[in-house]
């Protein structure tokens, strides 16, 4: 299971980074989201993966490490705030730069730059 979990994290990271390296704002945003999923899972897993041991006193016999949960929660929120900002920045960039390329170019020759 650990291997599977890591595989998922790895694939999410890889896809996120692949998208992050695209030349348009939108895939970059999607990539950042994917990456933040991966990161959240990674951070989450740093406390160990346990089934049916929610860190609620009384709900489970041996609760799991609650700290990563709190951290991931904070990270999710911050990630959301950042995503929101970058999404709107992308919109703004398109209106200011006339293109949704991250470098503001029309990019007819392509992303070879």
């Amino acid at each position: 299971m650990e291997a599977l979990f890591s595989l998922v994290v790895g694939v999410l990271t890889a896809c996120g980074i692949y998208l992050l390296l695209r030349g348009r704002t939108f895939p970059v945003i999607i990539g950042l989201s994917l990456l933040s999923y991966a990161v959240n899972l990674f951070l989450f897993s740093s406390g160990g993966l346990r089934t049916n041991s929610a860190p609620v006193i009384g709900a489970s016999i041996s609760p799991t490490d609650p700290l990563p949960h709190a951290l991931v929660l904070t990270a999710i929120v911050i990630g959301f705030a950042m995503t929101a900002f970058v999404v709107i920045l992308a919109v703004r960039a398109r209106s200011e730069l006339g293109s949704d390329h991250v470098d503001g170019q029309q990019g007819e020759e392509g992303d070879t730059r």
């Binding site: 089934t51 049916n52 929610a54 609620v56 709900a59 489970s60």
Partner: protein
């Protein structure tokens, strides 16, 4: 008996989800995929409830409520996008 039923039910839901994903991948059009996604959401409610039955806990129940509520909102948003482009006019 309950375990067997639970197991059967889980298997069926899992298979259902797999089929949803197939539709999501194949399409052919956006509404098809959207339908598939929505169904995936709904099925995952069942999955969570079944998990709760399996683990004999109701801790995760609120997640199901949220999926029911929020999945709907998400689907509506995309529908509106497809219909009007602009979801908050």
């Amino acid at each position: 008996m309950l375990d067997t039923a639970l197991w059967i039910s889980l298997t069926l839901i899992v298979m259902a989800m797999a089929m949803n994903v197939y539709r999501l991948a194949v399409g052919p059009d956006v509404p098809d995929r959207l339908l598939a996604l929505d169904t995936l959401y709904v099925n995952s409610i069942a999955l969570i409830v079944l998990l709760g039955l399996w683990l004999n806990t109701k801790t995760y129940f609120e997640a199901a409520i949220l999926i029911a509520m929020l999945g709907f909102v998400g689907t509506m948003a995309i529908c509106r996008y497809l219909l009007r482009g602009d979801i908050i006019e």
